[in-house]
């Protein structure tokens, strides 16, 4: 496949199609609507299912229904729409069917605006759905990564029978940049759907897919199964990207678009002689806890950069356990920080460290 100029929203929709996605259910919301529009055109022409639902509430439950049938299925939305999906996501997590959801985050809270933000971090990473449910959360920083992680999201969701969220922001959904789409993978034939799927109880005992366990002991046993699968995920699926960390005395930790623009700031700072590097978590759940814990031995300070008021910040502080100072720079409400602002934050931190050293 050749590299072509692709818009983020169209790119992840087409990537999902090529990953063998059999059904898409969604509801229009800026800044992700181009994905729904792409699906509206492409899915029917490929003989696959597309429904513009009456709401995000209905859309996620259509996703749930198709997932119980063992089909590869997804939805996409943006922050306020994702809030409406929380009920369905909890049932999906509670009944362990694989589902992919792309959240193209926008400014909030409330109706907010349609500008890029990262303020759904807590909602998606810390649960969102009621109950002790987790979702794998992948954070792309480029259109290429958005494509690749969308494809991988289906495999992860099926491997762990869980929800995998691709958490990007409005700038990634709207931007065009060169990227390469994967080759077309045909959907899995209906006859090869998972053994647990609802296919009609022909020649076997009936299956029930449910999330109700009235007996607390039974519910706890089920929760323990869920937690065991989360431990597997935490052990095997952590992904992050490191840049310039070999000699760094300051580590910037930032995900998605924040990570991308922080890298620009980091490279300018390094040209100024500041030894600064980047750790960009690609999986927000599972969070790269072990990698961040080692930072205390490597750097003098950590700077967390986010397009929110400091949400991942708390996970970085928890991972570093107070062994290294953690500073924060963020913009909120849909404001994308300029690399110069991050550069200033790096310079300030560098200066502060130099002063402390001089005093000592």
């Amino acid at each position: 496949m050749a590299r072509e100029l692709l818009k983020g929203n169209v790119a992840f929709a087409e990537a999902a199609i090529r990953a063998g996605c059999e059904a898409y259910f969604g509801y229009p919301i800026t800044p992700q609507t181009e994905a729904l529009e792409h699906m509206a055109k492409r899915m029917p022409e490929l003989g696959r299912a597309f429904v513009q639902a009456e709401s995000e509430v209905a859309a996620i439950n259509m996703v749930y229904g198709a997932a119980t049938a063992g089909a590869r299925v997804m939805s996409s939305s943006s922050s306020p729409g994702v809030s409406l999906m929380m009920e369905g996501l909890s049932y999906i997590a509670g009944s362990r069917v694989p589902v992919v959801l792309v959240d193209i985050m926008r400014g909030g809270p409330g109706l907010g605006n349609i500008a890029p933000a990262q303020s759904d971090y807590n909602q998606m990473v810390k649960g969102g759905p009621h109950g002790d449910a987790r979702m794998i959360v992948l954070a792309p920083a480029t259109v290429q990564e958005l494509i690749d992680l969308t494809v991988e999201a289906f495999d992860l969701a099926e491997r762990y029978r869980c929800i995998t969220v691709v958490l990007a922001d409005g700038s990634l959904g709207q931007m065009m940049e060169p990227a390469e789409l994967p080759p077309m993978r045909e959907p899995r034939p209906a006859a090869e759907r998972a053994a647990w799927a609802l296919t009609g109880a022909a020649g076997r005992d009936p299956h029930a897919i449910t999330s109700i366990y009235l007996d607390p002991e039974e519910e706890e046993a089920y929760n323990q199964q869920l937690q065991a699968s989360y431990r597997h995920i935490e052990q095997d699926e952590v992904r992050f990207v490191e840049e310039h960390m070999a000699d760094a005395r300051i580590a910037v930790v930032a995900f998605g678009t924040s990570g991308r623009l922080s890298l620009t700031a980091i490279e300018t700072a390094r040209a100024e002689g500041i030894r600064v590097g980047l750790i960009r978590p690609v999986t927000l759940y599972p969070f790269p806890v072990a990698r961040l814990r080692r930072l205390a031995e490597e750097v003098d300070a950590v700077l967390v950069v986010e397009m929110n008021a400091g949400q991942m910040l708390h996970d970085v502080r928890a991972a570093t356990e107070g062994h290294v100072p953690v500073a924060f720079f963020g913009r909120t409400g849909g404001v994308v920080p300029m690399p110069e602002e991050v550069l200033d934050a790096i310079r300030d931190l560098h200066l502060q460290l130099a002063l402390e050293e001089a005093v000592a």
């Binding site: 259910f25 509430v57 209905a58 439950n61 259509m62 198709a66 089909a71 009609g200 109880a201």
Partner: protein, 286 residues
Amino acid sequence: MSVDAVVPAVAPVVSYPRSLTPVPTHYCPGCTHGIAHRLVAEVIDELGVQDITIGVASVGCSVFAYNYFALDFAQAPHGRAPALATGLKRVSPGKLVFTYQGDGDLASIGAAEILHAAARGENITVIFINNAIYGMTGGQMAPTTLPGQRTTSSPLGRDVRTQGHPLRMSELLAQVDGAAYVARRSLHDVVNIRRAKKAIRKAFEVQQQGLGFAMVELLSSCPTNWGLTAQQSLDWIRDTMVPAFPLGDFKVPGDAPEAGGSRGPSAAKAGVSTAAGNGRAPKGGR
């Protein structure tokens, strides 16, 4: 002399439908859920579709329906069964998909999902249990609770000035072009139970034929939360619910959508009880 010699072998008059699991249900004595379950199971058996039928249970007393039907089953969030059924059916076009929902589920919290499933002409079958009350949570006012009816959340009787009016879902959904078959039946006596079974069969056949959305509303009893005996409950359906929720076919396949209502060719069949029908004559039925 052995017992066999005295009692001649007789084939049982009634057997368990294959599509029902032979286990006791958790439903209260006198509740008509058991009858509704059996009718659905008998229809599935008679159509020979047990192996390709997938049910969607809702939230309410029938949340455990999957324990009683010997069928593949999903369990939906409150009100969302038509959306789940949509997803299931769209990726399983060769299967028969039905939802089993109560009045709080279908007409209150799930009003949007049922309306739009009908509007899309979603090729599913809906079994709608209307007992004019929330059963599982203990007898609160439902969207189908009648004016003046006492419930735990309308203790002085439903006051329409502050608590609104009951919804007639069959009449409402019959207005929707995507609905192919919409009928209301009652489970209060044998004659009506037999009519209910025919309607349920029709609702599955409509799906088999790919004609679109099909729903059968079943007027049902809730002796526990109505505070009546089983027999009084059946009488209450007959005397109080049927006049408020007239029985009949409100939409049958082939009805052409037209201005001013959904009356079509079958309107001539008439002969329907319309005591409180607000002038709208549902079609067919009794």
